[in-house]
C-alpha cells in the first residue's frame, strides 16, 4: 500500500526521541548531545516538509491503525498536521542551534538538550498521530517534560512556584481532556480521527446530542486550561525562571497544544454552540486582558509573556468564531514571531539606543485619530472589495476585518504628531496599504490551503454570536482609543486603574498565595519542626 509510506513521517518524532534518550558517556557529552539534537532537528524538518509535500500531492492520508476497537496507534496527515509539524520542527531546529552557544558551559547543557528533544518528540507525536488515545498520552507526557524544563534550575524559588502552578493547571487540563475523550468514545465508539470526523459531520446534520455537547465543552476546557487563558494564565508569566530557549520553545510550541486540539477536533467542537461561544468569550476577555496589562509592564520577558497571553486569547477568539484557517495562520505567525522575540530579547538595549525620540515635543496631534480614521476608511474601501465579508456571512472574518481596521487606525495615528509631515504620513499610509494587502492575501491563501481540513464555517448561528462579535469590536475599539489617549493628562490621574492593570487585576497574586499555601503544606508534611509556618499561614488566612 502506498499509504504505508506515510509511516515515514514518524521519523520526525522518532529522531528527537533517539536524540533525547541515547546514552552518552563521553566527557564532552554536551557537544555530542548538541550535534545529535541538531541532526535530529534536521531530519525532523526534512521529514515534515516531505509530509507537507505528500499532503499537497496526495491529499490527506490516514495510515492503518495498530490497535483494536478504534484505540491504538496511527498517523494522520493533512494540511493542519503537516503545517504544524513543519512549524515545530523548524522552531525546534532554531532553538537547538541557538542553545549550542547560549548554554555553553552550563553544567546541565546535555540534560537541557535531552529535555528539549523529548519535548519536541512529544509535541510532534501529538501533532501527527491519528488517534485521540495517542494524543492524550502525548498531551500528558508533554506537560511532564515541560515540568522538568521549568525546573531546569531547581534551586530557584520562583521556578518551583511556577512549575507547581503549571502542574496543577496541567492536571486539570488532563482531566478535562480525558473526560472529553471518554464522552467521544461513548458517542462514536472509536477514537480514530477519520471515523470521528465523518461521524461528527453526520451528528451535526442530524441531531444535537447532549453527550457530544458535553464532549465538545470538555475539549474546549482542556484547550483553554492549556493555553494560559484568563484567569489561570499566571504560570506563563513565571517561566522566565528557566533559560531563554525554554521560553522560546514554550511560547512558540507547547503553548499551542490547546489551540491545536480545538482545530484538530473542530468538527466535534463545532457541534456545540456553547463550546464555541465559551471559546470566543474567554478568548476575547483574555485577549483584552493580556494586551492592556502588557502596556504597563517594564521587563522585556514579562511583557512578551503578557503578549503571548493576549495572542492566545485572540487565537481562541478566532476559533470560537469558527475562523479556523485564520487561527492556523495565527499559530504559525505567532510562533515564529515569539520564538524570535524571546531569543533576541537581549537586543532590547540596542533597540532602545536606536529608538531616540525625534520630535521636538512628544505631543501627538489633537485630531490625529480623526485624520487616521478617514485615511483608514479609504484603505478599507479598497481592501474590502477584495475580501468582501459581511457580518451575517462569516462573523469571524467580519470581526477580524474590524480589528484590522483598528490596527491601521493606530498605525496612521502614530504617524501624525504635532507637526504633521508629508514624508512621514505618506510612508505610514503606504505601510497601512501594505499591511492590509498582505493580511487579506494571507487569509485567502490560508483558506485555500485548509479547504478540506475544517468543517464548513457556519454563518451567524444565533443572536449570541452577533452579541459576541459586536462586543469584541466595541471593546477592542475602545482599547485602541484608550491607548491613543494615554499621554493625555486625564489618564495620568487614573492611579487606581493603573494599579489594578499593572498588577494584572491581582489575579496572579491571589493564585500565588493559594499555591504557596499548598507548597507550605507539603513542606510541613515533610518536616514537623515547622510549627512557625502554620502560625504564619493562619495569619495569612485571618
Amino acid at each position: 500500500m502506498i499509504t504505508d509510506l506515510v509511516w515515514l513521517a514518524f521519523l520526525a518524532p522518532l529522531s528527537f526521541a533517539v536524540a533525547a534518550t541515547v546514552p552518552i558517556r563521553q566527557k564532552n557529552s554536551a557537544a555530542l548531545r548538541a550535534a545529535l539534537a541538531t541532526c535530529a532537528a534536521a531530519i525532523a524538518l526534512l521529514t515534515s516538509v516531505g509530509a507537507a509535500c505528500w499532503v499537497g500531492i496526495a491529499g490527506r492520508t490516514h495510515t492503518g491503525l495498530i490497535g483494536a476497537r478504534g484505540i491504538g496507534f496511527d498517523l494522520y496527515l493533512d494540511a493542519l498536521s503537516a503545517a504544524m509539524a513543519c512549524l515545530v520542527a523548524f522552531v525546534g531546529l532554531n532553538i537547538i542551534l541557538f542553545s549550542r552557544n547560549y548554554l555553553q558551559g552550563d553544567p546541565s547543557q546535555s540534560r537541557f538538550f535531552q529535555l528539549l528533544c523529548a519535548a519536541l518528540a512529544c509535541v510532534l507525536v501529538l501533532i501527527i498521530c491519528g488517534n485521540l488515545f495517542v494524543l492524550a498520552l502525548a498531551w500528558i507526557v508533554t506537560s511532564l517534560v515541560l515540568d522538568k524544563l521549568l525546573l531546569f534550575y531547581p534551586e530557584r524559588r520562583a521556578a518551583r512556584l511556577a512549575a507547581r502552578k503549571n502542574a496543577m493547571i496541567g492536571r486539570l487540563s488532563d482531566v478535562a481532556l480525558i473526560l472529553g475523550i471518554v464522552l467521544i468514545y461513548r458517542s462514536f465508539g472509536t477514537l480514530d480521527y477519520t471515523r470521528i470526523f465523518s461521524a461528527s459531520e453526520m451528528a451535526l446534520a442530524t441531531h444535537n446530542s447532549a453527550t457530544l455537547n458535553a464532549a465538545a465543552i470538555a475539549l474546549v476546557l482542556a484547550a483553554l486550561l492549556k493555553s494560559a487563558q484568563f484567569p489561570l494564565h499566571g504560570w506563563l508569566l513565571e517561566v522566565m525562571e528557566t533559560p531563554t530557549p525554554v521560553s522560546a520553545l514554550l511560547h512558540a510550541g507547547i503553548i499551542n497544544a490547546g489551540a491545536f486540539l480545538v482545530l484538530r477536533m473542530s468538527s466535534v467542537v463545532s457541534i456545540s454552540d456553547i463550546a464555541l461561544d465559551t471559546l470566543a468569550v474567554i478568548g476575547a476577555i483574555t485577549g483584552l486582558f493580556g494586551s492592556i496589562v502588557m502596556l504597563t509592564q517594564t521587563s522585556i520577558k514579562v511583557r512578551l509573556a503578557y503578549s503571548t497571553i493576549a495572542q492566545m486569547g485572540f487565537l481562541m477568539l478566532e476559533c470560537g468564531l469558527a475562523a479556523f484557517p485564520a487561527a492556523v495562520l495565527h499559530i504559525v505567525a505567532h510562533s515564529l514571531y515569539k520564538a524570535h522575540a524571546f531569543l533576541s530579547s537581549g537586543s532590547v538595549i540596542d533597540l532602545a539606543r536606536a529608538s531616540w525620540i525625534p520630535s521636538p515635543s512628544e505631543k501627538p496631534h489633537p485630531a490625529r485619530i480623526l485624520i487616521s480614521i478617514v485615511a483608514v476608511l479609504a484603505v478599507t474601501f479598497v481592501m474590502s472589495r477584495i475580501a468582501g465579508a459581511s457580518l451575517l456571512d462569516k462573523p469571524g472574518v467580519f470581526a477580524l476585518s474590524a480589528i484590522v481596521l483598528l490596527g491601521l487606525i493606530d498605525l496612521v495615528a502614530n504617524g501624525i504628531d504635532e507637526r504633521p509631515n508629508a514624508y512621514v504620513l505618506t510612508r505610514v499610509i503606504v505601510l497601512a496599504f501594505l499591511t492590509a494587502g498582505v493580511f487579506f492575501a494571507l487569509q485567502i491563501g490560508m483558506e485555500h490551503l485548509m479547504i478540506h481540513t475544517f468543517p464548513f464555517a457556519p454563518p451567524l448561528r444565533s443572536i449570541a454570536d452577533a452579541v459576541i462579535v459586536i462586543f469584541v469590536v466595541l471593546t477592542f475599539g475602545s482599547i485602541t482609543f484608550f491607548q491613543a489617549s494615554l499621554s493625555t493628562s486625564a489618564v495620568k490621574r487614573w492611579t487606581n486603574l493603573y494599579a489594578i492593570v499593572a498588577n494584572g487585576f491581582y489575579v496572579n497574586t491571589l493564585l500565588n498565595r493559594m499555591v504557596m499555601r499548598t507548597l507550605i503544606r507539603r513542606a510541613t508534611a515533610n518536616d514537623n519542626t515547622l510549627t512557625i509556618l502554620e502560625v504564619d499561614d493562619m495569619a495569612a488566612v485571618r
Binding site: 558551559g105 520562583a158 520564538a339 533576541s344 498582505v438 489594578i500
Partner: protein, 848 residues
C-alpha cells in the same frame, strides 16, 4: 556604651542630625550602578574604601552574611598545584596582625586547611532587619516570610518609576519625588493585601509625608538601638541593593553637576516602610521575642577590626594575601629579569607610533603589533585621550558623555559629514529624524494593545527568515543603533566636527585656544613631547557583539561606556591642525611637518583596527600608510591566535573567520573575555615591559617621570587611571568571589528591565556587576580574584606627596584595596608601599 536591653530600649529617639548622619552613612555604602545603555565598571566596595579590606570582609560577614573571599577549596587547590608557595604564606603571615586567631607557621596553616571547615560562628552585634527575622522564623523560606514578595514588589515599583521607555502606559505618579510617588501609588495598590498583608494601604497612609520623618518614626517604633541605626538602614538597603545602586547612580550624576539628590534616601524610606508593614503583621509571641532578642544583639559593640572571633575568615584572609603575593612574586621576577633599560642614546625616528587605551586588552594587541616590525612603537593612555566630550550623533540634539565617569564633559562635539555643505548636512540631519518618526509609528503599531494582533498575523511568518538568518549569523537581530536611519554612503563620511558651531542652542566644537590647551595637556600627559614618528595613531577601542544586554560594558570605560572612536578622531584632528602645531611649537612641543595623526578604532572582539579619515592623509604618507596597514593585519592575526586558547578555539586557517562569526552570533554569551584576568597596572616607559609577555592582564600606562618636572602627570595617573583600573579590578573581583551578591548572575536568565538593567528570571531585585559568564567558562574561573598590583616608575618621595595630598588614593592604599610598588631607575621593583606613607623593601626573589 551600655548594652543591656533595658538601656537600649530607653535609648532616646535619634535627633534629626544624628539620623541624617546615619542615613547618609548607610547610603554612602552603596556603590552606583550605571544603566546598560552606557554600562561602566564600578567598584562594588566603593562605599567601604575608608575601611580596610579585611574589616570590610568582617563587616559584610557580620551585617549581611555576605562572603567576600573565595571558598576554602579554591585556596586548597592553589596550594596543591604549587601556585601558592610556602614563601608566599610566610610573607602573608609576617604581615598578619597579632590578634588574629590563625596558625603562625606554614605547617600549621597547611594542617588547618586540611581540617574540616568550622561552621562560621554567629557574630555578635549582628543587626537583623524585620525581613531577616521573618526569614529566620520561616526556616529560610522567603516565600512564607513574604520577604521575597516585598523585594519583588519594591523592584516592580522601582522599574515602573525609573522606567526608561519599556512600558507604553507609565506609572501615573512618576513625576513626583520617589517617596511621594510611592505613597501615591500604594494608597491604591491592593496587591500586598491580596497577598495577605493586612491593612497595607492604611499603614502607608499613616506614615509621614517626609521620607526622613518616616524613617525616624519607624526606627523609633521598632526600637532599633542608636548604635545600630546606620547598620540597620544599610542592611535594609542590601535587600534591594540593585535598585539602591541605581538610585545611587542618579545621586552620583546629580552631584557631579553640583546638584543634591535625595533619590536613594527616599528609596530607603520605601524599603523601611515595607519592613514596618511586615512588622505590624505579627503580634505572635515567637516573633516578638525573636525581635527583642535581635535588638539586644544589635546593641552590642562589633569587633570588626579585631576579627579574632572568626578563625575561618582569618585563615582565608591569610591565604588570599598569599595568593596575591604569589602573583606579585611572579610578575616582579619577570619585571626584574626581563626589563630592558631605556637606551640613553637619542632614539631613532620610527615610521609609526601608536597610542592605545590602557585597557588590558590592548596589551595583547600592542605586543602583537610590536612583533611585526622594529620600525614602530606603542604607548598606553586612558582611551579618551584627554578629551572629555559629549558626542552628538547626526540627527540627535543630545549625546553621551565620552569621558571617565569621574569627570563631566567639557566640550560638545557633533557628528557631521565630511566635506559637505551645511545644506546637505541639514538634509541628512532631517532625513534621519523623519525616518526615526516613521520607525517610531511602525514600532508602536507592532506593540500596541490591539494592533499587535494584526501585526503578528500579517508579518509573523516573515520571522522564519529572521530566525534562520540570525542563527546563520547573516543578520543582526536589530539594526546597529549607531548607524540606524543613515544611508551606507552617508555612514562612510561621518566625522566629528571640531570647529566651533552651534546645536540646539548649545555651542559645539573647540575654539582655537581650547584646541591648543587640550592638545598640549594630552601630549604631556602621554609623555609624548618629542621624537614624533611619521604616522601617529590614536587607537580607541570598542567591541562588536549582538543580542548582548551588557554590550556597552565591553566598550571603553574611559569613554563612559561608549566606543573610543569619537575621542580618538577628535584627538587626531586637533593634532593635525596647523594652527595648533605652531602654537605647540611656541610651548616647546615640536611636531615635525611630516608627522600625521590618524584616529583609529580597535575592535576588541575581533582584534581588527579601523583607520578613520583615510581621505585626509596627505599623498606623501601613502607608502607609510600601506606599511601600517600590513602591520595591523598581521598584528590582528597574531592577537587572535593568542586569544584563541582562552576562547576555546583551535588556531588554524579558519580562526579569523571563527572569531568574526563569534562577534555576529546572537546566541554567544562569551563573545570576548573583556577585562577578565586583569591583575596589575604599570606606569612606566614601554621599554621596561616591551620584552615581557604580560598575558593581557596588565593595564599599561606610558609614564616617564624625567619629563614630569612638577609631577602633575604622576598626580593625574594616581588619581584617575589608577583609581579607574582599581574599579574595574574590584568589579571583576566581586563578581568572581561572590557572583550572587556582587555579580549579575546567569545570562541565560537575564531579563532586561526598564531598559536600564537586568533582573534574573521573572522578578526580584535589579542585578549589579558582571554576569557569571563574564568570569567563568563553565569549567573554571577565567578571572583570578586578585586585588590590583600597581607598579609605578617614579621617585618614592613624589608618590608620597600625591598619596598625602589625596585622601581617596590614601584610603585605597592604606586599606589594601590596591598594592603599590615602586620601580626604580634600573627597572627593579625595590619598594612596596606599606601604609601611612611608609615603604618596605622588597626582598629580591630568586627562585631555586
Amino acid at each position: 556604651m551600655n548594652t543591656s536591653p533595658a538601656t537600649c530600649n530607653s535609648d532616646p529617639v535619634p535627633n534629626r542630625a544624628a539620623l541624617d548622619r546615619a542615613i547618609s552613612e548607610a547610603c554612602q555604602r552603596i556603590a552606583p550602578l550605571w544603566p546598560l545603555k552606557h554600562f561602566v565598571a564600578v567598584n562594588p566596595f566603593l562605599g567601604f574604601a575608608d575601611r580596610s579590606f579585611h574589616s570590610t570582609c568582617a563587616v559584610m560577614h557580620r551585617v549581611a552574611r555576605v562572603e567576600m573571599l573565595m571558598p576554602r577549596e579554591f585556596y586548597t587547590r592553589c596550594l596543591a598545584t604549587g601556585e601558592i608557595k610556602d614563601r608566599d604564606i610566610e610573607g602573608a603571615l609576617l604581615k598578619t596582625p597579632a590578634n588574629w586567631r590563625v596558625p603562625r607557621t606554614i605547617a600549621e596553616i597547611r594542617a588547618a586547611i586540611e581540617c574540616p571547615q568550622t561552621q562560621p560562628e554567629q557574630h555578635a552585634a549582628h543587626v537583623a532587619t524585620v525581613a531577616e527575622i521573618l526569614d529566620a522564623l520561616a526556616g529560610g523560606d522567603r516565600n512564607t516570610s513574604r520577604v521575597a514578595f516585598m523585594v519583588d514588589e519594591i523592584s516592580k515599583w522601582c522599574a515602573a518609576y525609573f522606567d526608561d521607555g519599556a512600558s507604553a502606559w507609565q506609572l501615573p505618579s512618576r513625576d513626583f519625588a520617589p517617596y511621594a510617588a510611592w505613597r501615591a501609588s500604594m494608597m491604591h495598590d491592593r496587591n500586598p493585601e491580596v497577598m495577605g498583608i493586612r491593612r497595607f494601604r492604611a499603614i502607608v497612609a499613616t506614615l509621614p509625608v517626609d521620607p526622613t520623618e518616616t524613617i525616624r518614626a519607624i526606627i523609633e517604633r521598632l526600637r532599633v538601638p542608636q548604635r545600630a541605626v546606620s547598620e540597620y538602614l544599610y542592611q535594609a538597603l542590601l535587600d534591594i541593593s540593585g535598585w539602591a545602586s541605581y538610585a545611587r547612580y542618579l545621586v552620583w550624576n546629580s552631584e557631579l553637576y553640583g546638584k543634591s539628590d535625595t533619590t536613594l534616601l527616599e528609596l530607603l524610606a520605601i524599603r523601611v516602610a515595607w519592613g514596618y508593614a511586615l512588622f505590624l503583621q505579627r503580634d505572635d509571641h515567637a516573633f516578638i521575642s525573636a525581635w527583642e532578642a535581635a535588638m539586644r544583639d544589635a546593641a552590642s559593640i562589633p569587633l570588626d577590626e579585631r576579627l579574632g572571633d572568626d578563625p575561618e575568615l582569618c585563615l582565608r584572609l591569610v591565604l588570599q594575601d598569599a595568593y596575591e603575593r604569589a602573583y606579585q612574586r611572579r610578575i616582579i621576577e619577570r619585571l626584574s629579569l626581563e626589563s630592558v633599560q631605556p637606551s640613553s642614546a637619542v632614539p631613532t625616528r620610527k615610521t609609526l607610533q601608536a597610542a592605545f587605551c590602557i585597557d588590558v586588552r590592548s596589551e595583547v594587541y600592542r605586543r602583537a603589533l610590536e612583533r611585526t616590525s622594529a620600525d614602530l612603537s606603542t604607548l598606553g593612555f586612558a582611551g579618551f585621550f584627554g578629551y572629555p566630550i559629549e558626542y552628538v550623533p547626526i540627527g540627535h540634539i543630545r549625546g553621551g558623555a565620552q569621558c571617565p565617569v569621574l569627570l563631566t564633559p567639557k566640550f560638545t562635539v557633533r557628528e557631521a559629514l565630511q566635506g559637505e555643505s551645511k545644506a546637505k548636512e541639514d538634509a541628512v540631519f532631517y532625513l534621519r529624524r523623519l525616518r526615526r518618526r516613521v520607525a517610531k509609528a511602525w514600532k508602536s503599531f507592532k506593540v500596541s494593545a490591539i494592533s499587535s494582533f494584526i501585526y503578528v498575523e500579517t508579518f509573523g511568518v516573515s520571522y522564519a527568515s529572521n530566525l534562520l538568518s540570525d542563527n546563520l549569523r547573516l543578520t543582526r537581530t536589530v539594526s546597529d543603533p549607531n548607524t540606524d536611519g543613515l544611508d551606507p554612503s552617508t555612514i562612510k563620511r561621518l566625522e566629528p566636527q571640531i570647529d566651533p558651531g552651534e546645536l540646539g542652542g548649545r555651542p559645539t566644537g573647540f575654539t582655537a585656544e581650547q584646541k591648543l590647551i587640550m592638545a598640549e595637556n594630552a601630549l604631556r600627559a602621554m609623555s609624548m613631547t618629542g621624537n614624533f614618528a611619521r604616522v601617529v595613531m590614536m587607537v580607541g577601542h570598542g567591541s562588536t557583539t549582538v543580542n548582548n544586554p551588557h554590550a556597552t560594558g565591553l566598550d571603553c570605560g574611559a569613554c563612559g561606556g561608549h566606543t573610543g572612536e569619537a575621542n580618538a578622531r577628535v584627538a587626531a584632528m586637533i593634532l593635525n591642525n596647523a594652527e595648533v602645531r605652531s602654537g605647540l611649537r611656541t610651548r616647546g612641543i615640536d611636531i615635525p611637518d611630516d608627522t600625521w595623526f590618524i584616529g583609529c578604532l580597535h575592535d576588541t572582539t575581533t582584534d581588527e583596527v579601523t583607520i578613520f579619515d583615510r581621505g585626509e592623509v596627505p599623498a606623501s604618507h601613502e607608502e607609510d600608510l600601506a606599511a601600517v596597514r600590513a602591520w595591523l593585519q598581521r598584528a590582528g592575526s597574531i592577537a587572535r591566535a593568542e586569544r584563541a586558547t582562552r576562547l576555546g578555539l583551535a588556531v588554524d586557517n579558519s580562526l579569523d573567520n571563527k572569531i568574526r562569526a563569534r562577534s555576529r552570533d546572537w546566541s554567544q554569551v562569551r563573545p570576548e573575555w573583556g577585562l577578565a584576568g586583569n591583575a596589575a597596572f604599570i606606569a612606566a616607559p614601554r621599554e621596561r615591559t616591551r620584552k615581557i609577555d604580560l598575558g593581557g592582564r596588565v593595564f599599561l600606562h606610558e609614564y616617564d617621570w624625567s619629563k614630569d618636572s612638577d609631577f602633575s602627570v604622576l598626580e593625574l595617573i594616581m588619581t584617575a587611571p589608577m583609581v579607574v583600573a582599581s574599579w574595574i579590578n574590584l568589579q571583576y573581583y566581586g563578581s568572581t568571589v561572590n557572583n550572587r551578591v556582587f555579580g549579575s548572575g546567569n545570562k541565560a536568565l537575564h531579563n532586561v528591565t526598564g531598559v536600564l538593567g537586568v533582573i534574573e528570571g521573572n522578578a526580584g531585585d535589579l542585578r549589579t556587576g558582571l554576569p557569571w559568564q563574564a568570569v567563568h567558562d563553565g569549567t573554571d574561573f577565567v578571572h583570578e580574584p586578585l586585588r590590583l598590583s600597581v607598579f609605578i616608575s617614579a621617585p618614592i618621595a613624589a608618590m608620597n606627596e600625591v598619596i598625602a595630598k589625596h585622601e581617596g588614593v590614601r584610603n585605597l592604599l592604606d586599606n589594601r584595596w590596591i598594592h603599590l610598588f615602586a620601580m626604580d631607575d634600573r627597572g627593579q621593583i625595590s619598594y612596596q608601599y606599606d601604609r601611612t606613607l611608609n615603604w618596605i623593601e622588597v626582598k629580591q626573589i630568586s627562585d631555586a
